[in-house]
Structure formats: structure tokens, C-alpha cells
């Protein structure tokens, strides 16, 4: 399964028409210890660029943007109780939301792992 990345330091994996979205290891490093995660309710419709979740660390509060149009089918409610998971397993168990995509073509043009790595090196 290909993982795709955005310039907002989010990762996306796709299964069928459902995209799983989380923040990258780089993002959690920049945030520092995460202390609070606010997640959307399932059923909410989001457009690309909308605020999908909020993540708060000891340093800053930051939005997690919906990388795609669609409907939230599931939020990782475990993060609300254990926000530290975002630091421990950002690109695995600490996914934020699953979105049923309404326009899969929005995946085109997103970075793959190599391109994201190159993007990070340029920062």
C-alpha cells in the first residue's frame, strides 16, 4: 500500500475508497509532547483544507487539515484518552481519521515517501 504525504506533514494510506489520515513523524517531532487531540464525529463531511482535527502539544495548538474531500467514517477515539500515542506511533497506530473519499483524483500529485523525504530535506 502506497503512503502519500502532504506539505502539511500529513500521511494518507488508501484502502478502497477510504483514506486513513495521520501526521508524520516529522510533524510530531516539531510539535513536541502532544497533550490533547480533538477529533471530529463520524458522519461529518469535510472538504480538502478544512480543519479535520486539532492537536495540541506543550508548545502549540495546531490543526490537522482534511487532505481530501469526503465523509469522516471513523475517528481514532483512543487518541483522546492517550494523546501521547501521537508521539510514540505517529505513522501507525496513531492515525487520526478515516475519510471516505468523494474524489479519488485528489490523491494525484501528492508526494510519495521519497518525494516527502526530499521535501523535508529542503526545509
Amino acid at each position: 500500500m502506497t503512503t502519500r504525504y502532504t506539505e502539511d506533514h500529513e500521511w494518507i494510506t488508501v484502502e478502497g475508497d477510504v483514506a486513513t489520515v495521520g501526521i508524520t513523524n516529522y510533524a510530531q517531532e516539531q510539535l513536541g509532547d502532544v497533550v490533547f487531540v480533538e477529533l471530529p464525529d463520524a458522519g461529518k463531511t469535510v472538504a480538502k483544507g478544512d480543519e479535520a482535527a486539532v492537536v495540541e502539544s506543550v508548545k502549540a495548538a495546531s490543526e490537522v487539515f482534511a487532505p481530501l474531500d469526503g465523509e469522516i467514517v471513523e475517528a481514532n477515539t483512543a487518541l483522546a484518552d492517550e494523546p501521547g500515542k501521537v508521539n510514540e506511533d505517529p505513522e501507525g497506530g496513531a492515525w487520526f481519521v478515516k475519510i471516505r473519499m468523494s474524489d479519488k483524483s485528489q490523491l494525484d500529485g501528492m508526494m510519495d515517501a521519497d518525494a516527502y523525504k526530499a521535501h523535508l530535506e529542503g526545509l
Partner: protein, 530 residues
């Protein structure tokens, strides 16, 4: 070291146990450990002698209290010492330099305190007959006159209690003006570097916040504003902009930005938190501002930051003045009049409602006016000039060792560094700030604004003498050189000399203990110092 009486020893043990350089009590010479009042309180003493009540029949019936309140009881000296000791733990501008950027921690002249304690100001009640408080009303009206004169605006809503409350007041006036014009725009533009309260205020009122990115030099580009306006054409409620901005830089394009917003039928809200940089130099009214809060507790002294309440009057342009909330001041034939209710309104006065029950922070008004009148207009201008001079003195004293995100250029009342000078040292902005505590300085604002990596925002204010700034600069230089020499031991785990070492901020945020619970008797064990 432990904080609670439960963790304190109650009797020496045979084996001893107080290590060298530790103490039996936990006190360090005259630096006292202080437990919570609930922990040192008992229920068998009383600070005052009260007469035993005679026999009486309570009228409360079934509402009478059924459980003990478990309030702590102390003798009068114990209660006094408890609060005096706590007060001595508070770092304040009265104790030392307090370079907290965007907070304008300036000296509060003691003359202000003397004036605020005059009985005609201190002992009045908002529900007193107006005829008995005409002097107090005159005083507020005079302050209001200073505020509209210094800002070049039409009117001022005095009642908001602090900055964010003032923002809400100003944005509610903007919303009321749109509603009165039969419009319902939904978008408020906010630059990336804004104080967090700006987008929060807009969101609270149901607006969609659209962010404006900064250009390379740290300021807002008129073109970016125009682009956002074009994207949301016909739907722009206004912009919330801080000037000088949170990077300590003057927004040079402010007039063009104001014109662009006005052309789009929007209003210009200016965040006045940084007004201390421009008092007497530039008037927001001349820059196209429609509403701006003024933090009396920053710009015009008064004790704040743990020392006292805030006060955030909002100045309004001619277009917004009719919407000022109740109560407001009106010029009357016999002096200023307080307009307190809808029944007293004249044609054209359309207050959007009320921000507070009464007139606002009387004590802060007195202090601010005392500060203004003791400085005079020329003195206020000089205070702003000195604030900018001091910030630039710090900049020039540190820029060869620290890193300026927008290059070596004049800043306003605060100077912003990023953390690239700490690259590869293993020391973070947080570590650096904690090491400053060991040196006896309150840290600067850190990790804000968010647009700059590892931000350190230093605002010395005009209060500091050159000698005080020289010592601060020398201390900072010593810390920077120490970090760059690889002396991480001085930073990791700092502060080492404070009454408490590095706090676990993560755990405090994730698992906050919000309520003190009396420990079960079995848990209260005398314990020897480790």
C-alpha cells in the same frame, strides 16, 4: 524535595537522614517551603474570637448544611505567614526584569497606586446614585478623552475587562454594523502571526477564519490580502491585524491593507496589544483602523501578570461608534453622562448589547489616567520611543550571537529571535528559557509567534535602565556561548536553583490534578528527608 506536609518529616529519626546540603524542614535558609493551606490548616483553632451564639431557631430548615465544610483553620500569624510566603514566590516586574514579549511588563509607578486608593475612586459602588459619583464619572470621561485622542478615533467602549474581551467587543460592534446594513458576511482574515485570541474571537462569533501568510520579511503583503478578498468576494466581514505585529515589526502596508478591506465593505480590527510601540507616534485612526482594544494594563502601566486585573477599552471609528455597547458615556450639557439602559438612548445610538454588568475596571482606569497625566503627552511619546530603543539595544547586543529570522533591521518594542543559533547544540528554546530562570530572569515569550521556529520574543519595555539591559545582554551572551560550547548540563534539566526543578509539563497537561483531595489517614506518614 517534597511539597506537602504529608511528605515532610514530623520527627527526627534515630538514623538521621538529612543529607548534606539538604534541610530537615525542606526550607532553604529563608526560602520557605510552603504547603497548601488545607494541609497546614486544622479544625481546632480559630484566628479570631467569636462569641458563642445564644440559643436560636435556624430559619434554614431542610437547607441547613448537613456536612462539615472542612475549611482550614489557622491562627492569625499562621494565616498571614502563609500568604506572605506565597506572595514572595511570585516573580513580578517589581522583583526583576520581565522580558515577556507581547505582554509589555512595564513598571507600575507607585503614584498610580496612591491615586487608585483615594476613597472617591476606591470606595464607590456601581449602584450608587449617579449624583454621588460625578467625580468618578468625570475621571472615566477624562480617560476616555485621552484614549480617543491618542488613537485618533471617534468613541470608546470602556467596559471590556481585558484584551480578548475587548477583541470580542470590537468584533461584535463590527457584526452589529454589518447586520444594521442588511449584510451577513462570513469571513474574517487573520495573519498567520496573529495572537491566538484573534482567530478565537472571530470563531466565537461564528466567522470563518481565513489565514494570510506572511511574506519573507515577516509582514503582511497587501497583495496577499487582496488575493484572499478576491477568493471570498462579497463575504468579507473584516480583518484582524496587529501592528506592530507579533514579530515586533511595523506593518508598513497598513494603510493599503485598510483601504483594500474597506473597499470590500469589511472593517479593520486592530489588535492593540502592541500599542506601547506607537503611542504618540502614530494614531490608529489615521491608519484606517475601525476598532482597536487598548490593554490599559500593558500600555498604561497598572500591575498585571499575576498582580492585578486587566482592562481593555475599545476605541471605535465614526462608522462603528453608534454600536458601542451599554453602558457608554455621552457628552451632556452638564458634563459626561453615563447611558446605562436602552430607555436612555437617542436616535442613532444602536448599542449591540452589553459586555459587563457595570462600567468596567475602576481601579485600572484610575491607574491608567494617573500614568497618562503624570507623563503628559510628550512623556507618553518618549516612553514609546524608549521602549523601541531598548528593544533595539537588546537586538544589537545579541544579534551577532543569536539569530534574527528576518535579518538585521530595526524592530519595534520587541525583538524576535529564532532558534537557529542553537542548531546542533542539543539545547532547545525551552532549555534555554529554563536556564534563564537559574540566572534570575523571567524567560522571554517562547515558541510564539508560531511562524518562527523556536521563537524567543523579548520585550524589555522602557522601564529598564541601560545598566539593567547590559546585565541582561551579558547574561544572554554567556548562556549562548555556553550552549555553543556544548555545556548542555547547564540547560538540560534546568532550572537547578529554583525552588522546583524542571516541571513535567507534559504530564501536567495530560493528567492535570484540578482538585485537592484530603489524603486518607493511612497515607499520611511521617517521612524522613531523602
Amino acid at each position: 524535595m517534597s511539597m506537602n506536609t504529608q511528605g515532610r518529616p514530623s520527627a527526627p529519626t534515630e538514623a538521621g537522614g538529612t543529607a548534606a546540603h539538604e534541610t530537615f524542614t525542606g526550607n532553604k535558609a529563608l526560602q520557605m517551603e510552603e504547603a497548601l493551606i488545607f494541609e497546614i490548616g486544622r479544625n481546632d483553632v480559630c484566628g479570631v474570637d467569636l462569641e458563642e451564639p445564644e440559643d436560636f431557631t435556624p430559619a434554614l430548615g431542610g437547607h441547613a448544611r448537613r456536612a462539615e465544610l472542612d475549611l482550614p483553620a489557622l491562627t492569625e500569624p499562621e494565616a498571614m505567614r502563609h500568604y506572605v510566603r506565597l506572595s514572595s514566590k511570585n516573580y513580578a516586574i517589581d522583583a526583576g526584569l520581565y522580558p515577556l514579549g507581547s505582554c509589555t511588563m512595564k513598571h507600575n509607578p507607585r503614584l498610580n497606586e496612591k491615586m487608585a486608593r483615594l476613597p472617591g475612586f476606591a470606595d464607590v459602588h456601581p449602584l450608587q446614585p449617579r449624583s454621588t459619583v460625578t467625580g468618578a464619572v468625570e475621571m472615566i470621561a477624562e480617560l476616555a478623552h485621552w484614549l480617543v485622542t491618542l488613537t485618533g478615533m471617534e468613541a470608546v467602549a470602556m467596559s471590556p475587562k481585558a484584551g480578548a474581551h475587548g477583541e470580542l467587543c470590537g468584533m461584535m460592534a463590527i457584526k452589529a454594523a454589518h447586520t444594521a446594513a442588511g449584510r451577513d458576511p462570513k469571513v474574517v482574515l487573520v495573519p498567520e502571526s496573529a495572537h491566538g485570541t484573534n482567530p478565537a474571537t472571530a470563531a466565537l462569533l461564528g466567522y470563518k477564519v481565513v489565514s494570510i501568510e506572511a511574506r519573507e520579511d515577516g509582514t503582511v503583503d497587501t497583495r496577499a490580502v487582496q488575493d484572499r478578498i478576491a477568493e471570498h468576494a462579497g463575504n468579507i466581514a473584516g480583518i484582524m491585524l496587529t501592528n506592530p505585529n507579533t514579530c515586533g515589526l511595523f506593518e508598513r502596508d497598513i494603510i493599503a491593507i485598510a483601504e483594500a478591506i474597506h473597499a470590500a465593505d469589511g472593517y479593520f480590527y486592530c489588535d492593540g496589544a502592541n500599542f506601547n510601540a506607537i503611542v504618540g507616534k502614530a494614531r490608529p485612526g489615521d491608519l484606517g483602523v475601525d476598532a482597536m482594544h487598548i490593554n490599559l494594563h500593558k500600555t498604561f502601566s497598572t500591575p498585571h501578570g499575576g498582580g492585578g486585573p486587566g482592562s481593555g477599552p475599545v476605541v471605535l471609528s465614526e462608522r462603528l461608534a453608534p454600536f458601542a455597547p451599554l453602558p457608554f458615556l455621552r457628552k451632556g450639557a452638564n458634563g459626561p453622562e453615563w447611558i446605562e439602559s436602552a430607555a436612555e438612548l437617542l436616535d442613532g445610538e444602536q448599542p449591540f448589547g452589553r459586555m459587563t454588568a457595570f462600567h468596567g475596571q475602576m481601579g485600572m482606569y484610575v491607574r491608567a489616567l494617573a500614568y497618562m497625566k503624570s507623563h503628559g503627552a510628550d512623556g507618553l511619546r518618549q516612553a514609546s520611543e524608549d521602549a523601541v530603543l531598548n528593544a533595539n539595544y537588546v537586538r544589537v547586543g545579541l544579534e551577532d550571537l543569536m539569530s534574527l529570522p528576518f535579518g538585521s533591521r530595526w524592530c519595534m518594542h520587541e525583538v524576535l529571535f529564532d532558534d537557529s543559533f542553537l542548531k546542533d547544540t542539543g539545547v532547545t528554546t525551552l532549555d534555554f528559557a529554563k536556564a534563564m530562570i537559574d540566572e534570575g530572569y523571567h524567560p522571554m515569550t517562547m515558541y510564539f509567534p508560531l511562524v518562527v521556529h523556536g521563537a524567543m520574543l523579548i520585550e524589555p519595555t522602557e522601564s529598564e535602565s541601560r545598566a539593567a539591559l547590559d546585565l541582561f545582554i551579558a547574561t544572554m551572551r554567556d548562556l549562548v556561548m555556553s550552549a555553543q560550547r556544548g555545556e548542555t548540563g547547564r540547560f538540560k534539566g534546568a532550572p537547578f536553583h529554583a525552588p522546583r526543578a524542571r516541571l513535567d509539563e507534559t504530564r501536567a497537561a495530560r493528567k492535570p490534578v484540578l482538585k485537592w483531595e484530603r489524603p486518607a489517614a493511612s497515607e499520611v506518614q511521617p517521612q524522613a528527608a531523602e
